[in-house]
């Protein structure tokens, strides 16, 4: 690592350092980017990086070729991902054994290794370069794109890319009102879920007359299957810090707080490291860039409550109280942390800010009329290319799922997509042409939310999905409001009955009535939207509820009480594999003769189905 840098005291210092860094790292310098995000790390990317290091040393290439252990590169499905830059040759599912070959062939001789390339499942075509891959082609990665060029543990990588220039511009060339106007013009809307205009939020806080104000970054991302905030913090922490500082300057706050959930230890580590480096360089602290603006940032770690992502609950949590939402008004700009005017912005919203300040008009060219810019979605579930995708707002769900995501896994059919996390809704196939826009998604009974996108195939039971989210919400409701706490418990009770085959026709009417009341009468946004999983599945998949209740059948063949396993007497060879593996000893039969399952003993675990090599187990 570079020796201790002199403090950056003025804008000229910053520009000088950036020029030097650019000269040291020319654009055509060869480096190997190894994805170090959680998904790829689980596949062993850390040791792959180490082997690359050893291999380069052995070949005497250190210094000529760099290795960057980067943040999320997007295509988590194909991890570990290794990209050879500057050409951006994309290798997927790399193993330690492949490293030497990559160094010898690709790095040294510029040859492409065919077998490590990404292959499109539908067409079978192989792609060499990253931006050719259909997954990346339709994306517009203004926030995520830099991950490839940045080692999140080094502030110098961020600086070399022009980092903190937006801050310099904001502090020296713009008044707080200019910044607020620019953000308003950009139509940046809260990426945490509610979609409130960031500019209006800032303006309201700016207008408040107070000696102390606070600027908070909300990194309490808790939706199941959503991880874009974590990836931003882990992949490019300085962009969030810069956004937070610009926001602080605009609203008149001198103190910033990043509220991260305790379940994100790596993000906490990276952000603390980034804070340390920024302080060391003088980009944080007193008299930043000689402008007279002071700003401190501290990190608060949440204790693992989903509800603390609600802004007023988060403030209670920072103050040391139980994370429970309170009545708004008074709004946070009027009475926030320690009763002072406060702005809370989501990680992704803040990461947008430096870009907006740097290139305002260009930012406004992407997106829809009412919502500009891009949105990161975490595309997960039964989709071919799972991962993080960053798309211009307004792209349709179909384009995201089928063109970027590559369609449904294993050639199955699409059934539903769940957007907006547990409080969002499930949308059926005929609504796939809905654009990803705050209003449009609300109109069809779902929401943008923080950007979780869970794709479900035909083997999903929608009643079971509602049950899953209700369980999550039951555990995560703060429990203060009777309507939310008891309402969710009662909705779950009814849905449980339906999945267990004891539902009655009256249940549907009651469920609808109850969900309506929970939505209407609960205090906070999370409680109000807790009925959405039920309301949206009832709206689009009511027939599935009916087949559970009337025909006692589960169309997705998921609900254990309503399915049966039998053995096809024709196909069964009597090999005995199912018999050996059945944990309930429910299968009997002589060797080389067709076996039978005793339905009384069968627990419907499905192990026999997975183990049978002759397609003899029938699930019905």
């Amino acid at each position: 690592m570079r020796s201790l840098q002199q403090k950056i005291k003025t804008v000229a210092d910053l520009f000088q350092l950036q020029e030097r860094l650019k000269a040291e790292q020319p654009v055509d310098k060869r480096y190997i980017a190894v994805c170090g995000d959680t998904g790829c790390s689980v596949w062993g990317s850390k040791s792959i990086k180490d082997v690359f290091q050893e291999c380069l040393e052995y070949k005497g290439l250190e210094g000529q070729v760099d290795i960057k252990f980067t943040g999320c590169l997007g295509l988590c499905e194909s991890g570990p991902v290794v990209i050879i830059c500057p050409e951006q040759v994309f290798y997927q599912k790399v193993k330690e054994e492949d490293v030497q070959e990559i160094v010898e062939k690709t790095v040294q001789q510029g040859e492409v290794i065919e077998r490590l390339l990404y292959q499109d499942t539908a067409s079978g075509q192989k792609y060499v370069y990253m931006d050719e891959i259909p997954f990346y082609e339709k994306q517009q990665r203004i926030l995520m794109g830099d991950n490839l060029k940045i080692d999140p543990t080094s502030i110098y990588d961020y600086l070399a890319l022009g980092g903190y220039r937006a801050l310099a511009r904001a502090l020296t060339k713009m008044t707080p009102l200019d910044i607020i106007e620019e953000v308003k013009q950009s139509k940046l809307r809260g990426r945490g879920g509610a979609g409130f205009s960031a500019g209006n939020k800032w303006k309201e806080c700016y207008d408040m007359n107070a000696d102390t104000k606070y600027m908070i970054c909300n990194a309490d991302e808790g939706d199941p299957g959503a991880f874009m905030d974590r990836s931003l913090l882990e992949g490019n922490p300085h962009s969030v810090l810069e956004g937070l500082m610009i926001g602080g300057y605009a609203v008149g706050a001198n103190e910033g707080i990043i509220y991260v959930r305790a379940e994100y230890p790596t993000a906490v580590e990276k952000i603390k490291q980034a804070l340390g480096q920024a302080e060391e360089l003088g980009l944080l602290g007193a008299n930043i860039l000689g402008s007279g603006f002071d700003f401190q940032i501290s990190v608060t770690i949440g204790a693992g409550a989903f509800v603390s992502g609600e802004t007023s609950a988060m403030i209670a949590s920072i103050e040391g109280r139980v994370g429970e939402p309170r009545q708004k008004p008074p709004r946070l700009a009027q009475r926030g942390l320690w009763r002072r005017p406060t702005v809370v912005n989501n990680v992704e919203s803040l990461a947008n800010v430096p870009y907006i300040i740097r290139e305002g008009t260009r930012y406004r060219q992407t997106g829809t009329e009412k919502s500009k810019g891009t949105k990161i979605f975490s595309l997960v579930g039964k989709v071919v290319n799972t991962g993080l995708v960053e798309v211009p707002l307004g792209l349709t769900l179909r384009e995201i799922i089928f063109e970027i995501g590559g369609g449904i896994k294993d050639g199955k059919n699409f059934k539903a997509v769940q957007t907006g996390g547990p409080s969002g809704g499930c949308l059926p196939e005929y609504l796939l042409d809905t654009p990803t826009d705050f209003e449009e998604l609300n109109d069809v009974g779902s929401m943008m939310g923080s950007g979780g996108m869970i794709v479900m195939d035909e083997e999903t039971c929608m009643v079971d999905v509602a049950r899953y989210f209700l369980r999550f919400l039951r555990d995560e409701s703060c429990g203060k409001c009777f309507s939310c706490r008891e309402g969710i418990i009662r909705m779950l009770e009814i849905v449980d009955d339906i999945t267990e085959g004891t539902g009655t026709p009256g249940h549907i009417e009651l469920l609808r009535e109850l969900a309506g009341v929970v939505k209407d009468s609960t205090l906070c946004g999370l409680g109000q939207t807790s009925a959405n999983p039920v309301l949206s599945t009832l709206r689009y998949f009511e027939d599935e509820y009916w087949s559970h209740i009337k025909d006692k059948k589960c169309p997705g063949r998921v609900c254990k009480a309503l399915i049966r396993f039998t053995i096809d007497q024709q196909n069964c060879t009597g090999c005995g594999v199912c018999l050996k593996n059945c944990p309930e000893e429910a299968i009997s039969g002589e060797k080389k003769e067709a076996h039978v399952i005793n339905p009384e003993l069968c627990s419907r675990c499905g192990i026999c189905l997975d183990k049978c090599k002759f397609d003899a187990i029938i699930k019905s």
Binding site: Q327, K480, F482, D520, L523
Partner: protein, 232 residues
Amino acid sequence: MIEMILNGLEISVERGTTLLEAARFYGIEIPTLCYDESLSPIGACRLCLVEIGPAGRSRLVSGCTYPAQKGLEIRTHSKRVMEARKLLIEMYLATCPSSKTIQDLASKHHVTRVRFKQKHEECILCGLCARMCEEQMQAKAIEFIGRGADLRISTFFDKKSEDCRYCGGCMYICPVCEARCQGPQEKDPVCNACLNLEPPCLDQFQDAMCYMDPCVACEQGEEPIKLSDDKE
């Protein structure tokens, strides 16, 4: 003063008044289970729902926590409010049927059936006791513990509290307390179940430790209450 429209009437209330206070001041009855004039409101029971805002864009809020705002249109007895309230009372009945307060509410609001599975809880988690203990008795001996479905009222770490002075304020304010009137028994025409004992705190202190009437020490029966710390 703040001008608002309450059920079509123009009213004016002082700054800082809540919608529930405003409605009650103007003689409109709104049911509550978690509200007490002497305690800070938390909006937990959701029975004091009122509809605010112009038609078409209106929403329901808890009257006990929502502050009066200039020009606000409030409807306390709209169809939407009444239907939500009825279902909430039905859920209360399904949860805690032994409470006379809840049974009375059910009769008053014509809730005649319970479509949910019957439970027999002893607490509706309104939090009145915890706030009484903290705000009026300055003891803070009991609090909400846990979250969501596991939420309950208890002492810290479920240990015997050293801050509890046995004042009984928690029982006094509980809307669903199990100490129901059984009426006089056959043998004895005098019931005396609610007999008010000499406040036990006077054995140790020069002044009574609370001004509760009746003194709820009677719940403890004949055994005199030890106030000294008999630590476990």
